[in-house]
C-alpha cells in the first residue's frame, strides 16, 4: 500500500521539476525586475508609481467579473444539455464548441467589429427592417461580449466534463425520494458539478482580467484596461520592463485575492482549483 502511493507520488516529480524551472524561476526574475530600476539597483519606485493605474485595475476586475458571471450563466445550461445528448452527439458538440477557437483570435475579434459596427451586420439589418440602429461598438458591453465569446469554451468544457460523470442513479434515487426537478438540480447536480464550475471560473476570469487585444479593438482603445497598460509598457522597450513587471506582480496578487474570495464563497475546498 505504502509502496503504491510512493510510486504515484513520484509521477508528479517531472512536473514539479519542470514547473520549478519554468514557472518559479521566471517569477523570481519578474519580482527582481519589479524591485529594481533599469540598472539593477534596488528601488521601490516602480511599486509606488502604480497609484495612477488604480482605476484601470478596478475597471478590469469589474469587466472580468461581469464577463465571468455571464459566461457561467450561459455555459451551465449548455453543459447540462450536452450531458443529456447521445454520446456521439456529445463528442461532436464538444468539438464544435472548441473549433472556433482554432481560428486565429485576431481574425475572430476583427469579425466582431464587422458584426457590431455602426455600419456592421446587426445595424444594417436593423435599419433594413426599419428599426433604429443600436450603438454597440466601442462600449463596455462590446468588450465584455468579446471576453465572453473568447473564453466561453473554457467554461463549458470543465463543467460538462464533471457533469457527465455524475452518476445517473443518484438522480433517480433523488427522484424516488420525492424531489422535483428543481430540487434535484439544486441539491444534487449543482453541488456535484461545483469543481467544474470553479475550474471554469478560473479559466475565464484570469484571461479576462488581463486581456488586452479585445479591449483595444472592440472598446475603441480610448481607456486602457490593465492588460493594455502592461502590453504597452512591455512593447515600449526594455527600459519599461521594470514598471511593467511591478504592475504584473500587483495584478497577480489581485487575481489571487479574487480567486480566494470566490472559492470561499463556493465553500468547496477540494475543487478543481485549490487556492
Amino acid at each position: 500500500m505504502n509502496k503504491k502511493s510512493f510510486g504515484s507520488r513520484l509521477v508528479a516529480a517531472p512536473y514539479l521539476v519542470w514547473a520549478s524551472i519554468f514557472v518559479i524561476v521566471p517569477l523570481v526574475m519578474m519580482a527582481y525586475f519589479a524591485f529594481t530600476d533599469s540598472s539593477g539597483v534596488f528601488t521601490l519606485s516602480n511599486i509606488t508609481q502604480i497609484g495612477k493605474y488604480k482605476k484601470a485595475f478596478l475597471v478590469s476586475i469589474l469587466y472580468a467579473v461581469a464577463a465571468t458571471a455571464i459566461t457561467l450563466l450561459i455555459s451551465y445550461p449548455m453543459a447540462y444539455f450536452m450531458t443529456k445528448m447521445k454520446v456521439s452527439s456529445q463528442r461532436m458538440v464538444m468539438i464544435i464548441v472548441m473549433l472556433p477557437m482554432w481560428m486565429n483570435f485576431l481574425i475572430r475579434t476583427y469579425s466582431w467589429i464587422s458584426i457590431l459596427a455602426n455600419t456592421g451586420i446587426i445595424n444594417t439589418f436593423l435599419k433594413s427592417i426599419g428599426l433604429k440602429p443600436l450603438h454597440l461598438i466601442n462600449t463596455p458591453g462590446a468588450v465584455i461580449l468579446g471576453m465572453v465569446y473568447d473564453f466561453i469554451p473554457y467554461m463549458i468544457l470543465p463543467i460538462y466534463s464533471v457533469m457527465s460523470k455524475i452518476d445517473n442513479s443518484l438522480l433517480e434515487a433523488a427522484a424516488d425520494l420525492g424531489s422535483n426537478a428543481f430540487s434535484r438540480l439544486r441539491r444534487v447536480i449543482i453541488p456535484l458539478s461545483m469543481p467544474g464550475v470553479i475550474s471554469g471560473i478560473t479559466m475565464v476570469f484570469v484571461p479576462s482580467v488581463s486581456t488586452f487585444y479585445i479591449s483595444q479593438k472592440l472598446g475603441g482603445n480610448k481607456n486602457w484596461l490593465i492588460g493594455d497598460a502592461i502590453e504597452y509598457l512591455f512593447g515600449a522597450g526594455p527600459e519599461y520592463y521594470n514598471v511593467a513587471s511591478a504592475i504584473s506582480l500587483i495584478l497577480m496578487i489581485l487575481i489571487l485575492l479574487c480567486l480566494a474570495v470566490m472559492s470561499r464563497f463556493s465553500g468547496d475546498e477540494e475543487g478543481g482549483v485549490i487556492v
Binding site: 482605476k55 484601470a56 467589429i113 466601442n138 497598460a229 515600449a236
Partner: protein, 367 residues
C-alpha cells in the same frame, strides 16, 4: 479517442504541408547586379515590418523566393509590428538577424548604441539608384549603416460622402462637428505629432512644457474621437464607420482601392516624413549574403514590385521615373515641390524625455 484525434490532426498537417510551396511561378528577371551562387545552401535571417515586401499575391513577384532562386540562399523571413518591439528583440540578444528594416529615428538609436554593422555602399552595384536627397540624412550622415527602402508622410484621410471637405488642418481631428466620427493614432509618437503640429512645435523638442502642452491638447480631443487606431483604420474608413482620420499616405492609396470616395490631404501645419531603411545589425552571421540581399532589393525590377505592393513612396530612381509604375507622378506619394507640406523627421529622443512623454501618453490612455 486521443490517438485517433492526434492522427486526425496529423492528417491535416500533412495536407497543409503538401500544399505549401507549390503554385508560385518564378519570373524572368533582368538583373543588373552580380549574384554568385557561392553561398548556395547558406541562410539569411531577415526581420521586416509585416506586409512590407512583395510576397507573390496579386500576381506579383515573391521577392524572397526570387532571391532564393537566384542565389541559392535560404531566406528566413520574420516580421515585427513596431520599431520598439524590433528593438526589444534585438536588444534581448535572443535572436540574431542579418537584415533589419527599421525607421529613421530607430536607426539613429541603434547607431548610438553601437548595434549596427557598417555597410560598404560602394560594394553595392545598385546603390546609385537611390536619390541623393535620401542620402546623408541626419540618422546616418555618411551613409555607413543604412540603405533607404521606403519613404512616407502622414496625412489625413476623409470621406466626403459623410462630411464636407474639412479644413486642411490637424485641427479637423479636434473638430466638434465630427464628434464620434474621427480617429487618431494609437501609437505615441504619431499621436503626439498631430497635437505638436497644431502647437507649431519642433517634433523632437526637449522642453518638457512642450510635451505637457501637446498632452493637454490630446486630452481635450479625446472626448470627440471615436477611437485610437492602427490597422483598424482601414476597415473604419473603407466601410464609412469613421469619417476622418490620420494615416500614412501610401496606405490611403490601398484604402482607395476598396472605397473610391475617400479623399486625402496633407495638413497645412506640416507633417512627419519618415524613411525606413535596410540595415545590418552587429549580431550578423551572414554578412556577405546580407550584402547580396540589399543589392537584390535595389534591383529596379524588384524595387518596382515592392513599391507597387507596399504603396509607399520609393527613394529609387528607376522606380519613380518609370512611366509604367502605377503611381508614376502620383501627387500624393510624390507631391510637386510647391505642394509639399513643411515636413519634420522624428529623431531619437533623449531617454529622459522619452520616458517623460511615454508617461504623458499613459496618463492620456488611463481613465
Amino acid at each position: 479517442m486521443l490517438k485517433r484525434f492526434c492522427s486526425l490532426i496529423l492528417c491535416m498537417a500533412l495536407i497543409c504541408a503538401l500544399f505549401s510551396g507549390c503554385g508560385y511561378k518564378s519570373r524572368d528577371l533582368k538583373l543588373e547586379g552580380e549574384y554568385t551562387k557561392d553561398f548556395a545552401g547558406s541562410q539569411l535571417n531577415v526581420y521586416n515590418w509585416g506586409e512590407y515586401i512583395s510576397d507573390g499575391s496579386y500576381d506579383m513577384m515573391d521577392v524572397n523566393r526570387e532571391f532564393e532562386r537566384v542565389t541559392g540562399i535560404h531566406v528566413n523571413y520574420t516580421t515585427f509590428e513596431s520599431n520598439e518591439t524590433m528593438y526589444s528583440q534585438l536588444k534581448s540578444g535572443g535572436v540574431s538577424y542579418d537584415i533589419i528594416i527599421p525607421s529613421d529615428y530607430m536607426i539613429e538609436r541603434l547607431i548610438n548604441e553601437d548595434m549596427l554593422e557598417k555597410i560598404d555602399v560602394s560594394k553595392l552595384h545598385n546603390y546609385g539608384y537611390i536619390y541623393d536627397n535620401y542620402k546623408n540624412l541626419f540618422y546616418d550622415k555618411n551613409n555607413e549603416y543604412s540603405v533607404p527602402y521606403n519613404v512616407g508622410m502622414v496625412g489625413i484621410i476623409y470621406n466626403p460622402t459623410m462630411i464636407d471637405e474639412p479644413k486642411h488642418s490637424w485641427k479637423s481631428l479636434w473638430d466638434e462637428k465630427y464628434r464620434g466620427m474621427s480617429l487618431n493614432f494609437s501609437n505615441p509618437r504619431d499621436g503626439f505629432m498631430t497635437a505638436q503640429m497644431i502647437l507649431g512645435q519642433d517634433l523632437n523638442t526637449t522642453n518638457k512644457a512642450d510635451w505637457d502642452a501637446a498632452a493637454n491638447l490630446l486630452k481635450k480631443g479625446k472626448d470627440v474621437l471615436q477611437s485610437y487606431v492602427m490597422d483598424e483604420i482601414y476597415g473604419k474608413m473603407e466601410t464609412g464607420e469613421a469619417a476622418i482620420g490620420p494615416y500614412y499616405a501610401g496606405d490611403y492609396l490601398t484604402m482607395l482601392e476598396n472605397n473610391e470616395d475617400l479623399e486625402f490631404f496633407y495638413p497645412e501645419e506640416g507633417t512627419n516624413i519618415f524613411v525606413d531603411a535596410v540595415c545590418v545589425p552587429k549580431s550578423v552571421k551572414h554578412k556577405s549574403e546580407a550584402m547580396l540581399y540589399i543589392d537584390f532589393l535595389l534591383e529596379p525590377e524588384v524595387a518596382l514590385h515592392n513599391a507597387e505592393y507596399i504603396c509607399y513612396a520609393s527613394p529609387h530612381r528607376a522606380v519613380v521615373e518609370n512611366p509604367e509604375y502605377t503611381y508614376y507622378k502620383n501627387e500624393i506619394l510624390y507631391p510637386d515641390p510647391e505642394d509639399m507640406p513643411p515636413v519634420q523627421y522624428y529623431h531619437d529622443i533623449d531617454p529622459e524625455i522619452r520616458a517623460y512623454y511615454e508617461n504623458l501618453w499613459i496618463d492620456l490612455k488611463l481613465y
